[in-house]
């Protein structure tokens, strides 16, 4: 098909570069420089979509971000699908494939349209709140159909092949929008020497100057644009970001700019030099000052059937003609409330097509453009407006009648004008979205019939966004804002240097939103306010009749403004209609709050590089290589990858976890095992008050711990609840090494700093993290001493190096601190070496360990062995509601310490002192073959009806190869005084397990094995 609406010349498209594309499977041609929308219009495609609620045919209305209808599905491949692309902002590329998002079997002949036509009357606003209630059981079925009908495009089913990234930027002046105001502001700020970022959402910079009829310095406006862009791009202190939308304006001048780097080139980023560049990039900008030069959006008029394809914004008509060389029809009727829209008629006429008439709502239109139109012989009908469009799939006529705005009525029958295009303009709405992201409320101005932004500190607004529309004034306003912004950053601003533009004399505009119709609004043909969500003037009227009086209520009841265009075209009209229905002024109805994003942003761009492998750091220990090579399965513990267990291949088959863990457990209890415990938090504590400090943050006593000795400690919050535990070694009188749980490392260090910095700054002590400095290797089991004796010069004699001692020396020729602490209950040596040597030490231990059957074990075996000993894991056996007393660890509670340590006072509160609190006990299943489920709930009366009173739960549960039975740790109400009693654990499958309450220490209750 040829481009029947394409002009032979004019516009900024490159006619030498023809591109082909498809829409709904049909092939078309366009030019480089087209948007998908301009190319569709060039090819005479009227219907681009079907509407959401009534399935009415819809065409292109606008030429930019405000477009509500032309929202299409892009993509020829599954992975390359892009849902909900606005055709007006999608640059055409060769091979582009797009489809309508609604319409069945197709957008031209849509069966749902019939439903919409017949059923439209049954769908007033909020109809779904009033029906689908009977029978109640049918709702989910009704809803299935509602869901099927909703939604626009579809998500791809495959993983995104593209990548995205972020750039953190700081600048003195960020200018949003590169129209006349923005270019002028950027020039002023840049020439002053400040660091400037200029971002504009369009394919090229220039904004309204790209389709202006005005001349700057006696030259076409776009030549001035080209000069400015050339100058700015040559400056080191300026970053120009075209195709970049400022989407969110956050606190303290932080803005997100979404730069589309390849979306104009293909559905996925095309390869360049063997690499795929990022599809889009999010600039996270902290700006000293922001100049908002975001311009204004034209408001359409609201009249009958104003949604039929062929109804466009007046400004869009000019854009298509002057920027793209496309006239979107043959015969135009323009309906306007202001002078500016006359451009559309003049441009149309100059393209060689018919202007049937201009219906001007003003009684005596008189501005320069009006005179030009008159001079060209265009028929102007004063005091009139298009009250209703005719046509099904394309406008076929316009009924124009004289209207009385004040009384909201039509004065005559009017006449039906034959045409295929109706352009309308009700004036302009400043683009206040960004400014209102910051929480500042806009102010209504009667003189410009629009809201202007209220501004927070650090921001200036310039040009259209301020309601200033005349080009020479806009240029000056932009310069002033740019200069002021630079000055605020300490730069010297220069005298304005701007092109001369002739000041145009415009007549005053009139306030017109909804056009009256002969019939009352509820009976008139549908007058659309929000095209994307099918919200009509009648809908708004019904809502106000039903008591929805605030604009937020109206919005929510009708869904106005909730589309992907966020009501850029419709909101002000909707407000005006609500105000009329309620008999109030527009500012009394309020404005709605605009939220980020200004236009929708790809999730991928917001995620950036933080996905897949880089979603979250993986932290490795110094022995990780060895673990990988030896087939470890890993457990995620915080960000760490810890070996979980080391399955072996036995007789050609991989051990199960159960088998591997049983083997590892036996190895430790019978021979010797080794654990990589490097992930434990380690804090170096120095200072004369270190000991005092420990006494305050731990529940137990530290006054007498001698150098060379180690002690276990519990830490509570001041509510008395345990939050971490670990051992701390006295290295010297004023020097301690604290260990924390793996997950608690950062928390505990910050906890210590908190108390030191805020409550006890007088204590002379310093804390430094040495978690990464030391690798920790735990050698444990009856053969541990023999193995150690082969690799260390430390005297391992049981009387000189006792349990809970630490010593220094060399292990495998590497300086080491060795701690005789045990988390397994067996003889154990915890070796700390500088991490860079750790793999060597580990491997040396294996070189010597073969004869002792040295077995690596992981966290699962560690858990079994510690649980057999009744040792808790903070966060597993405790959950923030467990006190040291609940744990039965009275031996670790220094009731008589002079300082009221953190957590002590809370223990005597009435609830914390109750005797029947949940207390840590052991559980022995009656059936030794049963391994209770962790998290199983404990009851005393298994026959009790649901809800069944629960008395506790299983916190840790394992199979013990040593006991050859299951065993568990649990918390049970009053458990410490219930030893020997039977409890019941009702399971999901209906089974009820029985277990006996026993001591939590299952193996070696006297602690002889660790003391050998």
């Amino acid at each position: 098909m040829n481009q029947l609406n394409r002009l032979d010349r004019g516009g900024r498209v490159d006619r030498s570069r023809e591109l082909s594309f498809t829409f709904n499977g049909q092939s078309y041609r366009g030019y480089a420089g087209d948007t998908l929308a301009s190319a569709l219009l060039a090819n005479g495609v009227d219907i681009v979509n079907r509407s959401f609620k009534y399935s009415r045919p819809r065409g292109i209305v606008a030429a930019g971000a405000e477009e509500p209808n032309a929202v299409v599905q892009l993509g020829s491949s599954e992975a390359g699908q892009v849902p909900n692309v606005r055709a007006t902002q999608q640059a055409l590329f060769d091979g582009l494939a797009a489809r309508s998002t609604n319409g069945w079997p197709n957008v031209q002949r849509d069966l749902m349209g019939l439903v919409g036509k017949l059923g439209g009357g049954f769908m007033p606003p909020g109809f779904y709140y009033k029906t689908f209630m009977a029978p109640a059981s049918m709702w989910m079925t009704y809803e299935k159909f509602i869901r099927k009908g909703a939604g626009l495009g579809r998500a791809p089913a495959e993983r995104d092949p593209d990548t995205y990234d972020h750039v953190n930027r700081h600048c003195d002046v960020l200018v949003v929008g590169a129209g006349p105001a923005g270019l002028s502001a950027a020039l002023a700020a840049a020439r002053s020497g400040s660091l400037v970022i200029l971002a504009d959402e369009q394919e090229e910079m220039g904004g309204s100057l790209l389709d202006s009829r005005e001349r700057l310095d006696e030259r076409p406006a776009d030549q001035w644009v080209a000069d400015v862009v050339t100058e700015l791009s040559a400056m080191d202190n300026v970053l120009l970001l075209p195709r970049t939308t400022a989407n969110g304006y956050h606190d303290h001048n932080f803005l997100t700019l979404h730069e589309r780097r390849t979306e104009h080139l293909g559905e996925t980023a095309p390869e360049q030099e063997g690499r795929r560049p990022v599809r889009s990039r999010l600039h996270r900008v902290r700006a000293g000052r922001v100049v908002l030069a975001s311009g204004a959006h034209e408001r359409p008029l609201v009249y009958g059937n104003n949604d039929v394809p062929g109804n466009l914004l007046a400004g869009a008509v000019s854009s298509y003609i002057r920027r793209y060389g496309v006239v979107p029809g043959s015969k135009l009727v323009l309906s306007t409330s202001n002078d500016h829209a006359y451009r559309a008629a003049l441009d149309w006429l100059e393209s060689g097509r018919d202007v049937v008439a201009i219906a001007d709502a003003r009684a005596e239109p008189s501005g320069e453009l009006v005179e030009q139109a008159r001079a060209q012989g265009i028929r102007i009908i004063p005091g009139a407006a298009v009250i209703e469009a005719r046509g099904q799939n394309r406008v076929s006529g316009a009924r124009v009648a004289r209207i009385n705005i004040d009384d909201f009525r039509v004065e005559d029958e009017g006449e039906l004008l034959e045409c295929d295009t109706i352009a309308s303009s009700g004036g302009y709405s400043p683009v206040i979205h960004l400014a209102s992201h910051t929480g500042a409320r806009p102010t209504w101005r009667d003189d410009i019939l629009g809201f202007v932004p209220s501004l927070v500190a650090g921001v200036q607004a310039a040009g259209g966004v301020q309601g200033i529309y005349s080009t020479p004034e806009v240029l000056v306003d932009g310069w002033t804002a740019g200069a002021e912004a630079a000055r605020a950053g300490g730069f010297e601003a220069l005298e304005a240097d701007l092109p001369s533009v002739e000041m145009r004399r415009d007549g005053e505009a009139v306030a017109l939103y909804q056009v009256p119709h002969q019939k009352a609004t509820l009976r008139a043909p549908k007058q659309f306010v929000d095209l994307q969500n099918d919200v009509t003037a009648a809908g708004i009227e019904v809502a106000t009749r039903e008591g929805f009086e605030s604009i937020e209520h109206v919005k929510r009841y009708t869904a106005m403004g909730f589309g992907t265009d966020q009501g850029k075209l419709g909101n002000i009209n909707g407000m005006a209609i609500a105000a009329r229905c309620l008999g109030r002024a527009i500012p009394e109805v309020g404005t709605t709050v605009f939220r980020p994003n200004y236009t929708p942003v790809t999730f991928g761009a917001i995620v950036g590089r933080h996905c897949r492998e880089l979603f979250d750091p993986k932290r490795y220990t110094a022995m990780h290589q060895w673990h990988v090579e030896h087939g470890a399965e890993f457990e995620d513990v915080g960000q760490w990858k810890r070996p979980w267990y080391f399955p072996r291949r036995v007789q050609g088959r991989q051990e199960s976890m159960h088998e591997a863990v049983a083997r590892e457990c036996r190895a430790v209890r019978e021979k010797v095992g080794i654990l990589d415990a490097s992930t434990l938090g380690k804090i170096d504590i120095q200072g004369p008050d270190a000991r005092e400090f420990l006494g305050r943050v731990y529940t137990n006593k530290w006054a007498k711990l001698a150098p060379g000795r180690v002690r276990y400690g519990l830490m509570c919050k001041d509510d008395g609840m345990v939050f971490d535990d670990g051992t701390t070694s006295c290295l010297a009188e004023n020097h301690f090494l604290m260990t924390t749980s793996t997950g608690g490392a950062a928390t505990v260090l910050e906890w210590l700093e908190l108390w030191h910095q805020t409550e006890w700054p007088e204590l002379e002590v310093y804390f430094n993290s040495v978690t990464d400095h030391w690798a920790t290797l735990t050698v444990t089991g009856p053969e541990a001493r023999k193995l150690m004796s082969e690799v260390t010069d430390i005297d391992l004699d049981r009387d000189s190096f006792k349990f809970m001692d630490w010593r220094e020396g060399k292990v495998a020729d590497v300086p080491a601190r060795v701690f005789r602490i045990s988390f397994t209950g067996e003889l154990a040596y915890e070796i700390n070496v500088q991490a860079n040597y750790a793999l060597h030490v580990w491997e040396t231990l294996f070189a010597h360990g073969e004869k002792y059957e040295l077995t690596p074990y992981g966290t699962e075996t560690m858990h079994v062995l510690r649980a057999e000993k009744g040792f808790i894991i903070a966060g597993q056996d405790t959950d923030g509601s467990v006190t040291p007393e609940d744990l039965g660890m009275y031996w670790a509670i220094g009731y008589d310490k002079p300082f009221s340590w953190i957590g002590k006072r809370a223990l005597t509160r009435p609830d914390t002192a109750r005797a029947d609190r949940k207390q840590l006990v052991g559980l022995k299943p009656r059936d030794p073959g049963v391994i209770l489920e962790e998290g199983a709930q404990i009851v005393f009366e298994p026959e009790h009806a649901i809800p069944m009173p629960m008395k506790g739960h299983v916190t840790s549960s394992y199979y013990s190869p040593t006991l050859d039975s299951g065993f568990a740790l649990a918390v049970v109400k009053g458990g410490h005084h219930r030893m020997g009693e039977t409890v019941y654990l009702p399971m999901v499958d209906g089974q009820v397990h029985e277990a006996e309450i026993v001591s939590p220490v299952f193996v070696d209750p006297k602690g002889e094995r660790q003391n050998v």
Partner: protein, 119 residues
């Protein structure tokens, strides 16, 4: 996203380097054992939570690791001052008014223009 002046580093830093730590100037009772349960509960859990001027503790967690205080408006999010641990704020809410009605309205109610016009 806040831009926070660290009183120890002497420059503005991005909010991502900091963590908020709740209301400032909540001292641990010097003699906990003599506190009633109510006083202890008050220390642990009860907060002023004002709409408006709030003194709050933050830590420059990815930075100098120092705790410090911020006086911030919890409605506008404006940071009015930052000061070191142990120092007192220079800006306080002395009005003792239970509610800043005007502020509450502007910040919490999107239809505030309507209310304003009718009040």
């Amino acid at each position: 996203m806040f831009y926070i002046y660290c009183p120890y580093c002497g420059e503005h830093r991005e909010e991502e380097e900091f963590h908020p730590k709740g209301e400032a100037h909540i001292a641990r009772p010097s003699d906990p054992e003599s506190c009633s349960d109510e006083e202890w509960g008050d220390y642990l859990f009860f907060r002023t939570n004002p709409r408006g001027i709030h003194h709050e503790m933050w830590i420059h967690a990815v930075g100098c690791r120092k705790f410090f205080n911020i006086t911030r408006n919890t409605a506008s999010y404006e940071i009015l001052e930052t000061y070191r641990m142990g120092e007192q704020p220079s800006i306080t809410d002395d009005s003792r008014e239970p509610l800043d009605v005007a502020q509450a309205r502007t910040e919490n109610t999107p239809a505030d223009n309507l209310e304003g016009a009718r009040a």
